[in-house]
Point group: C2
Chain length 289, copies 2
């Protein structure tokens, strides 16, 4: 089964397992709204690609890790879009969860997606219980304190955020977790895979800052110009557009070079090259080419 | 070590582990504000009492389960108090988290406490990895979909909530999880302990409805009269004060009778009798006596 099919099947299976009666229908719908239709699914694809490179001896563990990471990513977007944060009316080109279902169900959808992520890990590691602890800890570190997504988001409430700490937490952490969890799910040593996730995470944060600075809302599928309007730290504000573009390219090179020698290295490098191209906002891709 | 000391030590240890640099200071403070100073800690005490009754062969697993349950309880209170839900300015007699730190940090504190709960389970079950999966699934079911706290809360957004489904999810589920997780953490069969948690959970929800209906904000430590003001389902609204009181007493009896024959039965029954007394709001305790 190709990776995208595995991911969509895993996400659907988790919903099937938890959206049976007596589930409240609106919350179930809000959770599905947050996860479907799909975005690029880049984090779970990265997770599965690393698992494949490590032999993928228990695909259900890798699927669970990939889907847990996607659920957490979606949860973070739902809460990020809330009126008390970005107050974004659109996401992936459709109404954000709070715009469609109201703030209370958006808060609860995020909460329930976080819970589902960990539940999904436990289901997927039933046959390999020794991998569950490291998977839970890896994923929790990527989204909690002191340096996961929630911590990253919280730097926006501090008076003196450190740009690199903020970005590493808000975006980088879940990318690192995607590569590390992919290796753990396949029973491999995760250390050689950490740098790949870190480089890609930093590249994605910079790409997101570029998107916010130079794209139209239509191209981005969400409101733009938020970093400047909300006075948030951003690579574009720190280094300018050319500086941010150069950094993005250098990080994509570092990511490709960090891949350890393994059977799956070639498709992984291809995935990274493809993503590096996709990451440059359309309006800049001619300049960058 | 007595149970309350174990619980406070476990909660503090989890914070020590996750609030080191580069943790954003305000989020760390908001999370502590949500958890300290302590309330009755009745759920984690129940969890430890069941673990003790089952032999408590790995106290660190029981401590982790008890603290995970308390973190999740506190997280639910933080989100429940948000402006988009109850908009409560006080909790446990002091400012609620959003009143003290603002809504963004309150959302993030709840999120990070949910994550910390699962992370804590993984740390505590390192020596007993086969217990981690069942613990994660038990706890996740109590707070997620289809019948955990988030599901319960979501029934408030539905036009036709079923009172018993709503209350079982919003309050009962975490009590059931407390007894079931206590047994799992001690390596015992959790089935004989489920009914105890269910009865106590229902009793607590009714006690909470009574508190909301008849207490002063000073006695309750939080705003009262919310069920009626927000047109929420409530046992008092469904059965009247006398009916609710009678139900509460009958549930406490059922809980005590459900305890299986075991070494720890006597202290457990004493804990339940003490709680059953504490649960009746002050203004009604003379009537009930």
């Amino acid at each position: 089964m190709d990776p995208m099919t595995r991911i969509e099947a895993g996400l659907n299976l988790a919903f099937t397992r938890t959206h049976a009666p007596p589930a409240p229908p609106l919350l179930a719908a809000a959770m599905r709204h947050a996860v479907f239709p799909r975005g690029a699914r880049v984090r779970p694809r990265l997770c599965l690609a690393v698992a494949a490179a490590c032999g993928d001896d228990h695909p259900e563990a890798a699927d669970a890790a990939a889907c847990a990471i996607e659920f957490l990513h979606c949860a973070s977007l739902v809460h990020d879009d809330l009126p008390c944060f970005d107050d974004a009316a659109t996401r992936r080109g459709k109404p954000s969860v709070h715009a469609a279902y109201g703030a209370p169900l958006a808060v609860l959808a995020g909460d329930a997606l976080i819970v589902l992520a960990f539940q999904n890990l436990a289901w997927g590691a039933i046959a390999t219980p020794a991998r569950l602890g490291p998977l839970v800890i890896t994923v929790a570190q990527a989204v909690g304190m002191p340096a996961g997504i929630a911590a990253g988001q919280a730097w926006e409430s501090e008076t003196k955020p450190d740009l690199s700490v903020y970005q590493r937490a808000k975006t980088g952490a879940l990318f690192s977790a995607a590569t590390v969890a992919g290796a753990i799910a396949a029973g491999a040593d995760p250390q050689p895979w950490r740098q790949l996730g870190e480089c890609l995470g930093e590249a994605y944060q910079i790409a997101d800052d570029l998107l916010d600075a130079v794209s139209s809302p239509e191209d981005a599928g969400k409101p733009v110009g938020q970093d400047s309007a909300l006075d948030r730290p951003s690579a574009v504000r720190a280094y300018g557009i050319d500086g941010a573009l150069a950094l993005l390219e250098s990080l994509a090179r570092d990511a490709a070079e960090s891949i350890p020698d393994c059977l799956g290295a070639v498709p992984l490098r291809a995935l990274i090259a493809q993503e590096a191209k996709r990451l440059v906002p359309k309006s800049l891709s001619k300049v960058a080419a």
